[in-house]
Structure formats: structure tokens, C-alpha cells
């Protein structure tokens, strides 16, 4: 069966979402994954946006978290304060799974979405945290989308925008953060998780057609590949959902 790598990534993420989860979404592929999950594994998951929309009825794909499409028929339309409080608050926050992206990630899952090079005179400036640092600070589980390229998996991020496990076991708690941290990094080549003990990234799954070694070749730091298995490709049903129900206009995929 034919499928694109973006479709594969989307399905890998969708499978990480459990029924009843409150899914913090950005736009693009992360949103498509959250929308797909509602048809696949998690019919009662709730999509919500940092702008304050909760359980939006997404008849069309929003291009921004402030897109009027997120406002339509939501359970409530609040504002930024309410949205982030939902995550900072342990009562609702513990039910949230975040989906983030970044320009760089290190082996502890720390993210850079601010700048490459010097902070004051960067080679490349990106958008900055937005709500990413907040989400990464607050919620117990995070999925991270990345493109697998050496420069995007450096030994040290140029700017630490959003906390992963900082510098290893116990570091989040010591710094003052809530427990939590990234649960999976989903790239165009495979899916990585973090070791329970060391908090270091390891390869959990490689996609059909690639190899653990090829993945290592695309990272600056080394990860354990001993636990890696081949990922299960998207099913026909999953692909139909993506293509027919979630993004029929092909805005994202």
C-alpha cells in the first residue's frame, strides 16, 4: 500500500493518543494527528488550543490556533489564561497530552524553537516559544514532531526553549518543574522514546524501508538502537480516515 512519510508520521502520533485524553494541539501535522486519533483510537479525546477553544468542532482544518475554525461550536471559547491554566492545574493538566515541534532537540528531549546561533544575533531566528515551553513545563506527556537531520539532533541545543528532561534523571524536579516530559519523538524515519532510568532518547521503532543505522547517521548524538523494532505501517482504514475525513482538501498532508 502506498503512503507518504507525512501520513506515516501522523498515524504514529495518532496511535499515541488514548481515549479520554485532552490533546493540546498546534496546527499542521500535529493537528491532523489529533483529529485522526478521534476516528481511530480515541473517540472521546478532546482537542484544545492554547488560544482558549475547548473541544472545537473542526469542520475545516484551521491554519492557526487563532483561526476562526477553532471557535466554531466549541464547548467554550475562553482565552490564553484559561487554556494554560487547564494545563498548569494538576486536576485537568494530568489528562493533557501535548504535541509539539521544534528546530532542534537534544538527547534529553529539550527543544529549541527560538534561534540557531547566538541569541542576540542569530544565524536563523525562529518564532520562539509561543505556548510550547508552557506545555512542556506543565503536562505529563508530550509528543514531538521532528525532521530527522543531523543539525536538528545536536548534542546541545543552541537555545533551550522548552524543557524535556533537562540534563537527566531528577533534573525536572530539581529545577522546579512538574514531573512529566516528552514521551515520543516522531520523525520521518522512526519513533524514539526516553529511557525510564537514564531519561535518554532511544530508538523504539524505525519505519519500513529505513534502518536503525540510517537513523543514527542523521543524528549528532548517539542513541540506543538495541530495542528498536520495525514500525507497523498505516492500515488502509487509517489512511482512509486521513485522506477522506481529516484532510480531504489536502491542506496539510
Amino acid at each position: 500500500m502506498n503512503y507518504t512519510l507525512r501520513e506515516m508520521m501522523t498515524i504514529m502520533a495518532a496511535r499515541e493518543i488514548s481515549d479520554g485524553d485532552i490533546v493540546f494541539c498546534g496546527t499542521g501535522i500535529s493537528l491532523v494527528a489529533a483529529m485522526a486519533a478521534k476516528y481511530i483510537t480515541a473517540p472521546n479525546s478532546i482537542i484544545f488550543f492554547e488560544t482558549g477553544a475547548i473541544d472545537s468542532q473542526l469542520e475545516e482544518i484551521p491554519m492557526s490556533v487563532a483561526d476562526p475554525r477553532v471557535m466554531y461550536s466549541a464547548a467554550s471559547n475562553g482565552g490564553l489564561l484559561e487554556a494554560f491554566a487547564t494545563m498548569q492545574n494538576r486536576i485537568t493538566g494530568d489528562r493533557v497530552i501535548g504535541i509539539l515541534g521544534a528546530a532542534q532537540i537534544d538527547k534529553y528531549g529539550n527543544l529549541n524553537s527560538t534561534a540557531i546561533g547566538d541569541y542576540f544575533r542569530p544565524v536563523t531566528r525562529f518564532s520562539g516559544s509561543g505556548g510550547a515551553c508552557d506545555v512542556a513545563s506543565f503536562v505529563p506527556r508530550c509528543l514531538i514532531f521532528m525532521q530527522h537531520e543531523k543539525r536538528k539532533f545536536p548534542k546541545k541545543v543552541d537555545y533551550l526553549t522548552s524543557p524535556g528532561y533537562l540534563d537527566g534523571p531528577g533534573a525536572r524536579e530539581k529545577a522546579g518543574l512538574m514531573p512529566g516530559g516528552p514521551t515520543a519523538v516522531i520523525t520521518n524515519l522512526g519513533l524514539m522514546r526516553f529511557d525510564q532510568e537514564t531519561k535518554e532518547m532511544y530508538l523504539a521503532h524505525y519505519y519500513p524501508g529505513t534502518t536503525p543505522q540510517k537513523i543514527l547517521d542523521n543524528m549528532e548524538f548517539e542513541v540506543d538502537i538495541s530495542r528498536a523494532t520495525e514500525a507497523r505501517p498505516p492500515t488502509l482504514n487509517e489512511l482512509n480516515i486521513l485522506r477522506e475525513k481529516v484532510d480531504p482538501q489536502k491542506l496539510i498532508l
Binding site: G79, V123, S127, G130, A132, D134, G176
Partner: protein
């Protein structure tokens, strides 16, 4: 100001009265929705300089203010604008060239800073950003902060929880309040005294307004007070916070105004193409901003056909089926 007229003003007069060179400013909206674009363009048109701007994710508006040369200092959480500009292009360019001073926060932190300003406390608490460069890297130096009474002495402060482990928190981050000299927001409905009714998401507009010394409200419709007062619980901003009210249909264009019109994907993607090249961006400013008298002039250049395309569907509140590729 007569009672008959309330606080209604022309836009150029409101901007001239409340937006001065070097003043501290914030604008409402978020990325491509409900930015007070007519006001932003008027600020550019009036060549106001040296603004100190506070932004969470005020994509379109802040990027134009940067591109228009109005901003000297920027405290910001997010300089992105969806598909047409994942990183806002004039923002990116200005930082890479060292043309503006800037400092990074998170969206929640910026929202909280306005909240603290509205509340009238010097700082507020959060548990976001421990261990990150948001805390460790300051855009404004300690020296600069101590010299300028309009900038707090610290960017952020980490404090041990004085209530023991209450709330299961060993530490908190204290973030300083923002009280802009002026905040400009665009709303769906306002009365002539400035009471506002927003539809759809409010983002951080309410706190941005209540934190500011002066507030300019631009609105799609100027409505009678009795209409708004029939359901006071749904009016987010009472008139006591507002200095000027400016009715401007399509005042958020090219960003969206829920239940009135969608964002204009065509304008935004053309804008991105212009913004990537200095010369083209100057031509864009010359034609669309300086080349017209006011916002209606810009709308005339865009044309009725295009504006018709983005008109909101009464059921969904946006332009259903709009071509957004």
C-alpha cells in the same frame, strides 16, 4: 468630548492622541485573527518611531509594525503567522540584522504579565520555564533595566515556595506585570463609551486593555448601549477602561474577525512574498500603506470581489470552503 459623541474619534486622531514616539504599546488579537490592523497601518502611516511593544502571538500586526520601522524594543512570545510565515519575516529579518532589541517569553507568561498589570500587582506566579533559556537568557541587560524606570529590574525571578510544599511546588517563577501606555484592540461591537462585546476567542485582549493607561477600541459596529446592556455578562470590557472608540468596518483585515470575515489567505501569502525582499516590501508599504489615505484606501486596493470571498458564513462564523492553499 460631548456626551452625545461619547468617546468616538477618527482613527488618525486617536492614534495621534495616544500613540507617541517611544511609548509602550500592545495590540490585541492572535496571529491571523482580530489584530487591530487599521490602527497598525495608521501607526505606520504616521511614522511613529521607537515603540516598546509587548506581544504574545500578535503575528500579523506586530510583524507589520516591525517592518514599518515603528518598533525599537520587543518583548514577545511568538513571532509566527501560520502557513504563510511560520516565522514572521520582517521580525526574523530585524532580529537577524540586530535592528531591534528583543526579549523572549512564553505565551502564558505574556498573558499572565498583562493579567498582573490589569490586577495592579507588580508580579504574578507561574510554574512555566524552569531550567530553560527563557529564564537564563535575558534580552535586556541588568544595566539597561536599572537605567530605564519603564523596564522592571529583573526579567524573571525564581522563588522557593514560602508555603512549604503547598500545591506540590518547591519553587515558583515570578514574572513582572506589564502596564502599557496604550493598548489597541479590535472588537466586533462597542458602544460609543467603549463597552465591548467580543465574539469567538478573546485571547488576552481583556487583560491587555485593563492593564493599559489608555485603550483605543476599533470596532466593526458601533451599537447602542442598550443592545450591549441587555446581556451585561457577555460584555468583556466595560467603558471605564477605554479612551477612544473608532468604528472601522474590516478594521482587522487582512486578519479574521469572527462572525464578520475570515483572514485573507491571498493577501497574507502575497505579503509574505513581498516581505522576503527588502525592495518589494518597501514597494508594498508605499502602495498599500503610504499610498492610501486610510484603511478604506487599502480595502479599495484589495477590491470588493476579494472582500466578498472572505465574508463569514452565518452558521460557522468563517468563510466556509474558502480557498486557503
Amino acid at each position: 468630548m460631548s456626551a452625545d459623541q461619547g468617546k468616538v474619534m477618527a482613527l488618525d486622531e486617536a492614534i495621534r492622541s495616544y500613540v507617541k514616539d517611544g511609548c509602550h504599546i500592545s495590540i490585541g488579537g492572535f496571529t491571523l485573527s482580530r489584530n487591530p490592523m487599521a490602527a497598525v497601518y495608521e501607526i505606520i502611516r504616521q511614522k511613529i518611531r521607537g515603540l516598546h511593544c509587548y506581544a504574545h502571538s500578535n503575528g500579523t500586526g506586530v510583524d507589520e509594525l516591525v517592518g514599518g520601522g515603528c518598533i525599537a524594543k520587543l518583548e514577545i512570545a511568538y513571532g509566527g503567522n501560520a502557513k504563510s510565515a511560520p516565522t514572521c519575516i520582517r521580525f526574523k529579518t530585524a532580529i537577524q540584522r540586530g535592528e531591534i532589541q528583543f526579549e523572549d517569553y512564553t505565551n502564558y507568561q505574556m498573558a499572565l504579565r498583562f493579567h498582573a498589570g490589569a490586577m495592579g500587582v507588580p508580579f504574578i506566579t507561574t510554574r512555566s520555564s524552569f531550567g530553560t533559556d527563557i529564564v537564563n537568557k535575558w534580552g535586556f541587560s541588568k544595566e539597561m533595566r536599572e537605567k530605564d524606570p519603564k523596564i522592571p529590574d529583573n526579567k524573571l525571578v525564581v522563588l522557593d515556595n514560602p508555603f512549604g510544599n503547598w500545591g506540590n511546588a518547591s519553587k515558583v517563577i515570578l514574572i513582572p506585570a506589564i502596564n502599557p501606555d496604550v493598548t489597541i484592540i479590535h472588537v466586533q461591537k462597542a458602544d460609543k463609551f467603549g463597552t465591548c462585546r467580543m465574539m469567538g476567542l478573546a485571547y488576552a485582549d481583556v487583560d491587555q486593555a485593563k492593564a493599559a493607561r489608555n485603550v483605543i477600541v476599533t470596532c466593526e459596529e458601533l451599537v447602542g448601549s442598550e443592545e450591549l446592556r441587555a446581556e451585561p455578562e457577555f460584555n468583556q470590557i466595560p467603558f471605564i477602561h477605554v479612551s477612544a472608540v473608532v468604528p472601522i468596518p474590516f478594521g482587522a483585515y487582512p486578519t479574521a474577525c469572527y462572525r464578520y470575515y475570515d483572514y485573507d489567505p491571498q493577501y497574507l501569502s502575497q505579503h509574505s512574498a513581498f516581505a522576503k525582499v527588502d525592495k518589494l516590501y518597501r514597494e508594498y508599504l508605499d502602495k498599500f500603506i503610504f499610498g492610501v489615505k486610510d484603511h478604506q484606501g487599502l480595502l479599495n486596493l484589495v477590491g470588493k470581489v476579494q472582500l466578498e470571498k472572505i465574508k463569514a458564513d452565518p452558521r460557522t462564523g468563517y468563510a466556509t470552503g474558502l480557498d486557503r492553499k
